[in-house]
Symmetry: C2
Subunit: 382 residues, 2 copies
């Protein structure tokens, strides 16, 4: 009767026209027709990345793109500064280790954003840092890191600036060229609102210089091969791509172009603001520091005496809304509302209303209606 | 007006019900509902691999599965015996090199199958060979290697037997347990007739022992992580999988179960026999040695005086049939007909008939109707 509403930080709801595009017949991935689709998709990716660089879609998850970013520039012993304030920051560091790198960790307390001065201090102290990795939107904590400010600092050093925008691109400000980002990666199933299973990467000339001097330790994600195949006319991928997901990505990117990237980001910011207003009005506490709150996912502290199983179970089984739990040591201690992709006030109102009913039923002391009122007021005053 | 008929060695034609399954709404990849779908899909994969081992679907192309196979068992300096008789044999060797291995190459002339005695001789001579890689069906040459016979030899040595069945599984005999295969990989878009973008791998206990002792040099394709996530209840994947392609794989595997694996393989063998009979009746020469011919793809020498562009261009533009060209040094010298997946006598007759017309139009001396007659006779006498 009800379609489940995905209010998780990916995969997000996919528009019917994207699903329809995905179900078109398979064509030869080495044909001119597919080359045109690939070209158009990669060009739209560059528009969304706001870069003049070539972009590449990859058949794999966002993690594959993270490995493509690090695995193509890291050799044994290379120092990589990893800014780690959550699960995905940790992942970047683990990937650097897998490829023989010697990570320098800048630990940030979960829930906080990195202080750009701390990045500067390490870059001053440590010699030969080859790359700095940062996760723009830390999906695990609902924190947005100041990638523009950190970019201004990294620019003064001889290190590549590698940014994970898996859960922010298309939903928050990401100016790859404007921020001095050398390598940027993203995933299909978050703010871009395409189905999961595809990722994208873009590299500038400085990054390619390093890639060309690095003995790549990944075969499937070897970017030199992607560049070579991409230069063919019509362009190709080095290995058989997911043809259907390419159709879907193209259609999802068309929707973004129709909405307008700026409009879309404003819509995400408003959804985030409304979500935060709604949960705070219910008396719940946000996990992220106020100045660090994400525009695409909100992490909320689990109310005293209520279990993750009860809260998310009721939301799922009674109201058909999927929320996300906490990851690693936050398991059971926070729950997360994703507001990414095709999210309007309708979904936010629905979610906060169901949350009110769920909390009430579970014995949490609240005044019914206060949450949805705060959401509505946020939208009205925007 | 016409839908293009894909007679290439992948991607192959996908059944409408598989495309329909793929366009279902996205669900949470960490939900019990998705866990059930994943479990069923992996279990059916094990049935098709004909193994008692656990199988894992991977979000990536067949090459990703090849790298998962080699990258999880190869460390710096490890000796890997690579049987190389075509492009995909070369790929296995390049992957071993990427992961620090010291490949020992057993070169086989393109168009021939490996002689199992040659494998035995190398295993006798060379010490400490950690793994033997072989491509069952060399898509680039239309050759099937004798994986059962080679398996009998490898069994007597302390080396893992790693078999690429990307373009044979579901279309030719592959008994993973029966042949003593330690690691077997495949792709979605060949004989399984699912859309491209997904791969699968299965490992036995001997393989896992080596994986556990090996420092894995790939993050995205780290099989220890797949095992750990797969052991959860409900099972998960370590990173966000392609939810839509998982739906598609499940549906494609359901179709295989309905047809029956044995029946399906017989159908492929007959399609191969009919294709070979058809092209030989037209006076064309097969590229593969007669005793080495593949059951899923046929490579044909380009007739004197006819260009690849004219032959495949006419087939594509006039008859809406995609054939494949030659790869690497075979470019322009061979063309290939894939007869994988949902292929019946109808597609073979159509293809050989169009080939007759194309060749006639390009000035090749042939007796019209001889090719289709040979196809029909093969089917009638089966």
């Amino acid at each position: 009767m009800y379609e489940t509403l995905l209010m998780i930080p990916g995969p997000t709801m996919v528009a019917p026209r994207v699903l329809k595009a995905m179900s078109e017949n398979i064509i030869n991935h080495r044909s001119a027709a597919f080359g045109e689709i690939l070209k158009e998709t990669n060009e739209m990716m560059s528009e969304v990345f706001q870069t003049e660089n070539q972009s590449y879609i990859l058949t794999g998850s966002g993690t594959a793109a993270m490995e493509a970013a690090v695995g193509n520039i890291t050799e044994k012993g290379d120092k990589v500064l990893n800014i780690v304030g959550g699960k995905f920051g940790e992942r970047f560091m683990q990937i650097a280790e897998t490829h023989g790198g010697s990570p320098v960790e800048l630990k940030v307390e979960w829930g906080n954003a990195v202080n750009p001065d701390d990045v500067k201090n390490i870059l001053e102290e440590e010699e030969d840092i080859k790359a700095v990795t940062i996760v723009h939107n830390e999906t695990s904590t609902g924190v947005a890191n100041p990638i523009a400010e950190v970019g201004k600092i990294v620019k003064d050093y001889d290190a590549l600036y590698v940014v994970d925008t898996v859960s922010s691109l298309g939903g928050d400000d990401v100016f790859v060229d404007g921020y001095g980002i050398d390598i940027c990666v993203t995933g299909s199933q978050k703010c871009l609102a395409a189905p999961p299973g595809m990722a994208a990467i873009t590299l500038n000339d400085d990054a390619w210089d390093v890639v060309d001097k690095t003995e790549t330790s990944t075969y499937y994600l070897n970017m030199k091969k992607y560049r070579k195949s991409g230069e063919k006319k019509p362009p190709e991928t080095p290995y058989t791509p997911s043809v259907s997901l390419t159709y879907a990505m193209r259609e999802a990117l068309h929707i973004i172009m129709e909405e307008g990237l700026e409009e879309r980001i404003l819509r995400h910011k408003l959804a985030a603001k409304a979500t935060r207003a709604g949960v705070k009005a219910l008396g719940l506490d946000l996990f992220a520091q106020p100045d660090a709150a994400s525009n695409t996912v909100t992490a909320i502290k689990m109310p005293e005496g209520i279990t993750d199983k009860d809260l998310r179970g009721t939301m799922r089984n009674k109201y058909h809304i999927e929320l996300a739990g906490g990851q690693d040591h936050l398991k059971g201690n926070v729950f997360r509302i994703g507001h990414m992709g095709n999210i309007t006030q309708r979904e936010i109102i629905t979610t906060i209303s169901a949350l009110e009913m769920t909390l009430k039923e579970l014995g949490f002391d609240l005044e019914m209606g206060k949450g949805v009122a705060a959401v509505a007021e946020t939208y009205l005053s925007s």
